[in-house]
Symmetry: C2
Subunit: 346 residues, 2 copies
């Protein structure tokens, strides 16, 4: 970004200089953005539509490992994670704010890389960056993103609207982000033991991308609008399929039957899980970070959707007293549990 020979650094820029440097090339694209970065608050006009707001915090060492996470990807992912929540309300994301805590180990170039990813995501998803806060941190990188969007009241989909008999659908495939993480963690260990060995990630691009550079499913929201299907309940898959299905069941006060054989798993995810001696189904159920959309539809809408390549029908909603069940490939019925990370420790 700097073409003059005198290299600027974060310290010489100062807080306001850094914010100005990072945000000066912003071009506002949303009509609703009346004022973006540069005042005490951004000003946004939703003209009678309902505003949607969602926030997430990413911490170094907890949510990402800079040993194998390029900063540009990290910036991109931090935005996607938040947009995904707005899409999960069946809304359109329009603005984001970004707060950064940066420790002294980060150079200006590093922060610029992070912002390149942030801007790329904003550009691609037609979202305006309208504010934020940049501060020093004693240790590690902290990224806080808040996303704002809108929807007509009649279009908003909550987690609580699932009814008995509704079909449970999920976009894309699951478990890829988690198996990608296993690969990256393995190669990091190999590298730490012998820095001369090059990482062996050949042919694994898809699951690596699922982990490092997820895409929020705006296209699914648009697709459903195009075919005039309004889901009865919706949530994004950030913590794993099981956890999200249980959220819909408990907030809708319903039960479910989920079919293991219907859960969409990409062949590369399947093979890699096997390589790591992991059950691919468990990776899909509990791995998380896939940022697909999980939703329920009325049975009457099935015909409009049955030929969509990117949607899987994985079960249906039952009355609460029937319980929350996972029907395995062998036909046995288990209680569906959000096993989280413990499931992998064995």
């Amino acid at each position: 970004m700097f073409e003059n020979s005198e290299k600027a650094n974060i310290e010489s820029l100062g807080e306001f200089g850094l914010i100005d440097h990072l945000t000066r090339q912003i071009e506002l694209k949303q009509k609703s953005t009346l004022k973006g970065v540069g005042d005490d608050a951004a000003v946004i006009d939703f003209a009678g539509k309902k505003a949607l707001i969602s926030t997430d915090m990413l911490l170094e060492g907890i949510h990402f490992d800079l040993a194998y996470t390029p900063l540009k990807h990290l910036g991109y992912k931090a935005i996607q994670v938040n947009l995904s929540d707005v899409y999960a309300m069946n809304g359109i994301a329009t603005q984001v704010t970004v707060s950064l805590g940066i420790s002294s180990k980060f150079t200006l170039e590093a922060v610029e890389e992070l912002y390149k990813g942030i801007y790329l995501a904003c550009e691609k998803y037609n979202v305006d960056l309208v504010g934020g806060d940049t501060t020093s941190s004693k240790q590690g990188l902290v990224i806080g993103v808040t996303a704002l969007g809108y929807a007509d009241e009649k279009d908003i989909v909550y987690r609580s609207g699932a009814e008995e008999g509704d079909l449970i659908c999920v976009s894309g495939d699951l478990g890829g982000a988690y198996t990608g993480l296993q690969l990256l963690e393995r190669e990091k260990l190999v590298y730490l033991e012998n820095p001369n060995i090059q990482p062996d990630l050949e042919g694994k691009d898809y699951i690596i991308e699922r982990q490092l550079k997820p895409e929020a499913r705006r296209d699914i929201v648009e697709l459903l609008k195009d075919i005039s299907v309004k889901p009865t309940a919706m949530i994004d898959v950030s913590d794993g399929l099981a956890s999200e299905v249980l959220h819909i069941c408990s907030q809708s006060n319903k039960g479910c039957n989920l079919y293991e054989e219907k859960i969409p798993i990409d062949p590369m995810t399947y093979e890699t899980a096997r390589e790591f001696n992991l059950d691919p189904t468990v990776c899909a159920l509990s791995g998380g970070e896939d940022y697909e959309l999980l939703f329920t539809i009325k049975q009457a809408d099935y015909d409009k959707m049955k030929n969509l390549a990117d949607i899987s029908f994985i079960g249906y909603i039952t009355e609460a007293s029937a319980g929350r069940n996972l029907v395995t490939k062998s036909g046995t019925v288990h209680e569906l549990k959000a096993q989280g990370w413990n499931a992998f420790k064995r």
Copy 2:
């Protein structure tokens, strides 16, 4: 909060349990809050008004020191800091989201204390907590707050509207938060040297409160509305008077004359600064964290405001070419500079 004998802890609650535990007693007060905590995003209805959004991040070791900051005060302050930005747009704050990164050293009781302060601030300022994110952190406490508010378009006040001849006004008094911090830092050192010595903060309540429990000036926004005065430019005093005046000048493309003798400094602030061998004016100009409102008004509005006890008239706006000047008590003219923390190193 727990009255049963079996003590819950953060680990046994898990992330969703913790969020539920901390947010279950929320009563939504704002008509505009259609859906608060508990879905992918909050849903907010501004019914044709313009939305205002502002975000701030507070990091342990940078923005607060838990050695002398009660967690309840910290939660309260984290909210105030953000509401202050919405008021500085001449808006009404209505919703907040709170993201927390919590290291393993924090108990459930500690997080509850923090939330007590958050809820107290929300209660007092009539603001709904509508969402957030709770995650573990490897080290230290991280608090990210985003505030949302609204205003009619005609009422919004930007930093950029100051005109030549406008009067520069500030609410309350300045420098208190900074001198309060000096006291707290001194007592911390004394304590570290000898834990048996009790902190000597007697009679210093006012400036300690200015540091630990600031109040955003919603009352000033309401007052100005009551007397039908719309400021031409406004900003809140978070980084120090000098820095904020310069923001208004640069964004309005104007100059200013600021009069040292007019800067409002509380007697306790003055005495304490002297005790620490600090110039009270420098504390007011560069200390920051007072969260007062700095604004400019048309001269024609002076008569409506001249008898308000809580407003000081500290200078006026000039054309840009006249420069940004501080006129000292002795009558000499200096260039106004945002000295920041360096000013205190001497």
